[in-house]
């Protein structure tokens, strides 16, 4: 009845390796997976051209992707091979770029074609080694009767810790497209339908890799019990949180902690939004339990956010006030270290492991949970009702807001919009995915506006706290920092006012007749 879609096939339709024949149609794709050994493959002439193989060069290699698997999902494979990065793409020509260092973030790579082609990857995610091993690389060419090179190729034999793959990357030379086509046709025939899909590379090198999905898509039948659905969503997000622990400890990038917290926050909102599925007393206890899990991560996340704002803050202030920022960010860096150390100790401790294991067991099925009054309700009807009620609430609150309404009510509107969005996300599989996506999109403009309004207000409070908390013996430094923080707060305050001034209009845009109709059609109870 319930399936957690976590296999590649379910996640990435069309994952089934595309056949080489199809590949040949895109003439940009220039690599193929080989079945035969290169020596036998190029033992004889190819299309009346003489193969020439250079000596092989041995280096190390690593297959790179970010934790979200963005490269794999977009049909690309990124190989580090000793001296540079090779980017293979199911839909475009391969790219190579020399790499002197071992940069982990795309933004830190030196300028070059590979960096450009990776511009779509999220900035905050680092590149991770999915696997590594040894690589034998051998350049070759097909040469005509005059000794002129007509096409080039590179043979790559990758021996990873969990598997091997052999591939050939072909190079088209200007004016010699025909020879390139002949080489590709030959390789296709010889490789016995071997495909140029990057999926094969992952299959071969990391056969057991479990993809990470930050937003797991839980699928349930419309008549499933509400409690089963809630339990399943919670268990899926609990797994997401756990997948992030290692990355937090290793301090790979800040998204691990962020995703960890988002997962726990979603669990908390399931507990408060799916009202009545669990007994009141258990709901209260569980909420407390998840809040306790989140609490020790808050400070570190705050610091991460400040550090991300760093460039922005420097831009906002004149150079004369940079001294105070320097002082402030120095302090952040220091406290980040100690916060991370604390969190690591906690993650590695027994109490935490015990707590996580028991939660995992608790949510593995419904047998140990205490049913509430809504537990047995069919999930579709239940979901529809929750979304509809929440939508009505958002509308009511939004319509009551004008330019003079106190900020507290705007904050409440924000929280309700967020809840509405979470509900639609959790229950998306029960409705038309496309329609739900469209509704979430209808809400986006308003949510962005309210989100910024909130961020600016939170930042002001937080900066003030930083200043109040700073214990400094050096009064000069303290004064510097106070000046910079004061200036920042003034700017952030102005920004907050600007966002506030937009709220009435963003809401009116969301509250259009068309959007109202869509919500009504999708989520209002059909009275027969």
């Amino acid at each position: 009845m319930l399936t957690l879609a976590n296999s590649y096939e379910a996640l990435w339709p069309g994952f089934e390796a595309r056949k080489g024949a199809e590949l040949a149609r895109h003439d940009t794709v220039d690599f193929m997976i080989l079945a035969d050994s290169p020596q036998t493959l190029f033992a004889e002439q190819v299309a009346k051209l003489q193969p020439q193989l250079e000596e092989d060069v041995k280096t190390g290699f690593a297959l790179l992707d970010n934790f979200d698997g963005d490269l794999r999902q977009s049909g690309r494979a990124l190989l580090w091979m000793g001296d540079g990065l090779l980017l293979l793409d199911d839909r475009a020509a391969s790219l190579f770029q020399a790499l002197p260092g071992n940069q982990r973030f795309v933004a830190d790579l030196p300028d070059g074609p590979v960096k450009n082609a990776l511009a779509d990857l999220p900035d905050l995610r680092c590149l991770l080694e999915l696997t590594s091993g040894s690589l034998s690389r051998r350049n070759g060419a097909l040469v005509d009767d005059e000794g002129k090179t007509r096409t080039r190729f590179t043979l790559l034999e990758l021996h990873g810790t969990d598997g091997n793959v052999m591939l050939v990357q072909t190079e088209k030379l200007r004016g010699y497209e025909k020879a390139h086509g002949q080489l590709q046709a030959y390789l296709l025939a010889a490789a016995d339908g071997g495909s140029g899909a990057t999926a094969h590379i992952y299959h071969a090198l990391v056969p057991d890799h479990l993809p990470y999905i930050a937003k797991p898509k839980t699928v349930f039948a419309p008549d499933e019990k509400a409690v089963v659905a809630a339990t399943h969503v919670i268990s899926a997000y609990l797994a997401v949180a756990q997948r992030n622990e290692e990355g937090i400890i290793a301090d790979l990038d800040t998204e691990f902690l962020h995703d960890y917290r988002v997962a726990l926050r979603k669990i908390r909102s399931v507990l408060s939004l799916f009202r009545g599925v669990y007994s009141d007393s258990q709901t209260v206890a569980l909420k407390r339990s998840f809040s306790e899990l989140m609490a020790p991560t808050g400070r570190l996340r705050d610091i991460d956010v400040y550090l991300m704002e760093r460039d922005d803050y420097y831009r906002l202030l004149p150079e004369s006030l940079h001294g105070g920022l320097e002082e402030m960010f120095g302090r952040f860096q220091k406290s980040r270290k100690s916060e991370l150390r604390k969190l690591t100790r906690r993650f590695e401790g027994q109490a935490y492991a015990r707590q996580m294991t028991s939660l995992q067991a608790l949510f593995s099925d419904t047998s140990r949970l205490h049913m509430g009054p809504a537990a047995e309700r069919p999930v579709h009807e239940y979901a529809r009702e929750l979304i509809w009620k929440r939508y009505r609430k958002v509308c009511k609150m939004g319509r009551a807001i004008d330019d003079n309404t106190p900020d507290e009510l705007v904050h409440e509107l924000r929280i309700n919009c967020k809840k509405l969005r979470y509900l639609m996300e959790f229950f998306a599989p029960l409705f038309s995915r496309k329609e739900v996506k469209a509704r979430i999109n209808d809400l986006k403009g308003l949510q962005d506006n309210l989100g910024l309004f909130n961020d600016y207000s939170v930042q002001q409070v937080a900066l003030q706290e930083v200043l109040d908390r700073a214990k400094m013996s050096d009064r000069g430094k303290k004064l510097d920092m106070a000046k910079s923080v004061g200036a920042l707060i003034a700017i952030l305050h102005q920004r907050q006012l600007d966002e506030r001034a937009r709220v009435t209009r963003s809401f009116a845009e969301f509250d259009s007749a068309a959007v109202q109709d869509s919500f009504r059609n999708q989520f209002q109870k059909v009275t027969a």
């Binding site: 005509d144 005059e146 000794g147 002129k148 090179t149 030379l173 200007r174 004016g175 010699y176």
Partner: protein, 250 residues
């Protein structure tokens, strides 16, 4: 983008040798280079092992920008492409004027196939009459190999005269001594006299007569690939260094 023509109305003076080795030197220095073989004899193409394109003899060939770009072939060296021989001068005029115009469709088409050239080198045939004036007008510099003999001295005088008569700027003329034989007193005397007459116009670098260069025909490759450290290789290297700084190519 700069255009350099290798030109003399005399045959066998080292035009093709200069064009071939200069193109290789420029490409090795990272300058994106296109070598155009304008001589139906096809010497440049021969050294790079590129067969003359049959398609190029077709009259309708250059009616379309795409055809220009299709005629270009990759050499075996990075940053260096070849436009093989057998192009009609009329077609070539069109080609050059489009290359000069930075907004032309040809430029855009080449850019789109990642062939945006910094430098175009023309290996010209040894006659003035048929070669369009436009080539001279389009070129930023016209390299003229001068073998230091009395006869060649007259030839160079003729070229400068032709330029003046046609209202072309003779400032573009960049003569250099080619196939120089040190041991011949005649060569030494002619060089001294001509440097005196033409002042700084002559390149300081000159190309000696050497078997390193003669053997290009057997190797079918630029000198630097097989005799970089020898007299021939070093001569073209110095030649390129001086020319690139004079024309601000790198």
């Amino acid at each position: 983008m700069k255009i350099i023509a290798c030109y003399s109305n005399k045959g066998g003076v080292g035009k093709s040798a200069a064009a071939v080795n200069l193109a290789h030197a420029a490409a090795s220095a990272g300058v994106n280079t296109l070598l155009c073989d304008l001589d139906p004899q096809g010497a440049s193409g021969f050294y790079y092992r590129v067969k003359p394109s049959k398609k190029l003899q077709d009259d309708r060939f250059f009616t379309d920008v795409k055809k220009f770009t299709n005629a270009i072939k990759a050499s075996d060296y990075p940053n260096l492409d070849i436009l093989p021989a057998n192009m009609s001068y009329r077609d070539f005029d069109v080609f050059l004027s489009r290359m000069k115009n930075s907004r032309s469709r040809l430029k855009k088409a080449l850019k789109s196939v990642d062939a945006d050239y910094d430098l175009i080198i023309l290996d010209c045939p040894p006659n003035l009459s048929t070669l369009s004036e436009n080539v001279f007008r389009a070129a930023d510099a016209i390299l003229v190999p001068v073998v230091p003999t009395t006869l060649s001295e007259r030839t160079f005088e003729q070229i400068t005269e032709f330029f003046r008569d046609e209202g072309l700027s003779d400032k573009k003329l960049v003569p250099f001594f080619s196939m120089v034989q040190r041991q011949k007193t005649l060569h030494g005397e002619t060089m001294a006299r001509m440097r005196e007459t033409y002042g700084k116009r002559f390149l300081d670098a000159f190309i000696p007569f050497t078997t390193d260069i003669e053997r290009m025909g057997a190797h079918r490759a630029p000198v630097a690939t097989y005799a970089a450290r020898k007299t021939g290789g070093r001569a073209y290297d110095a030649f390129w260094q001086e020319l690139s700084s004079r024309l601000k190519l790198t």
